[in-house]
């Protein structure tokens, strides 16, 4: 059984290698600078993600929101931890570091989102970084306290509202042909907001069920 699996994996790898060496050396890429500028961006990847492949991005946002909904519903059926367990001791070093860093993380993620169409970045890494920043804050302050401060229904409303705004922007771009820098920046910001809130929801649900690390 083991040898059969090894032979199968090696055969698959061999086939892929055979296919790959035929691909190289790669030919030149088509003209990309003019279409990028036509979408109002200087970053070709952002112009593709939010411009010519906007359908993919909208569906991705929808899938992400559905996955987060699934996590919420799935964790609802599992028992929550009783609060009589002792919490992780808060060290002053972590508190101080979190206090200083959360501002930096917030500004950096906003910068990444807002300048995604001009340089590397965009909504997706910005949202992920903001989610990690919220994770840092949860490690320092305790996830339960942070969950009380971030009022859950507001967050849910914000997440689904961001999805709705993105769909509206997508419709405007695809159907009405709206181009320019402002729709790009707005789309990036809302994508970042949605990814960050989704990451926080996963984090919070997991911690409240499994206990802090």
């Amino acid at each position: 059984m083991r040898w059969a699996a090894a032979v199968a994996v090696l055969a698959m790898m061999g086939l892929l290698v055979l296919a790959t060496v035929g691909l190289f050396p790669r030919g030149p890429i088509p003209e990309w600078e003019a279409p990028t500028l036509a979408y109002g961006a200087r970053n070709a990847v952002a112009a593709i993600v939010l411009g010519s492949r906007l359908w993919d991005t909208l569906m991705e946002v929808l899938v992400y929101a559905m996955a987060m909904l699934g996590v919420r519903m799935g964790m609802r059926t599992l028992p929550e931890l009783s609060s009589s367990r002792p919490q992780v001791a808060e060290t002053p070093l972590l508190l101080k570091a979190a206090d200083i860093l959360i501002g930096v993380v917030l500004v950096f993620s906003l910068y990444l989102a807002a300048s995604g169409h001009l340089g590397p970045g965009g909504g997706f890494p910005a949202g992920a970084i903001l989610g990690s920043g919220l994770l840092l804050l949860a490690l320092a302050k305790g996830a339960d306290r942070l969950a009380e401060e971030l009022y859950e229904p507001t967050l849910e409303g914000l997440e689904y509202g961001a999805v709705a705004v993105l769909i509206a922007l997508g419709a405007a771009t695809l159907l009405l042909g709206v181009r320019g820098q402002i729709p790009l920046v707005a789309a990036n910001l809302f994508i970042g907001l949605e990814v960050a809130i989704g990451a926080w929801v996963v984090l919070h649900r997991f911690v409240s069920h499994r206990g802090e690390i």
């Binding site: 994996v9 190289f24 990309w32 990847v45 112009a47 993600v49 992400y64 996955a67 964790m75 059926t77």
Partner: protein, 115 residues
Amino acid sequence: MEGLTAALMAIALAGLGLWTLIRRRNAIWKLLGLNVASGGSILFLVGVAHRPEARPPILGMGPGPAADPLPQALVLTAIVIHFATLALSLVYVIFLTERRHTQDVPRLERPRRRK
């Protein structure tokens, strides 16, 4: 030739991940193998996008040919989707752990005894 090296390493990673997926018994090890294999597939696409002596496909980032922006745009959303599906599958694994008290996949697949 960096693209070719990256593509070959991507195939190696995919093979490694697939091997882990097949051989390990624990459900979380299988998910880890899948993680590495999908990292391999993403690396493959990015390697194919690379051109010799290329620079990032951003206007104003220096002279020379640019890398292909299309595969990079494709994998960008794929990475975030991968995280979302990973979170969902881990919810399922946690559920299984609570109910069936085991993460051993062959044992989970055995039909349950009726006591």
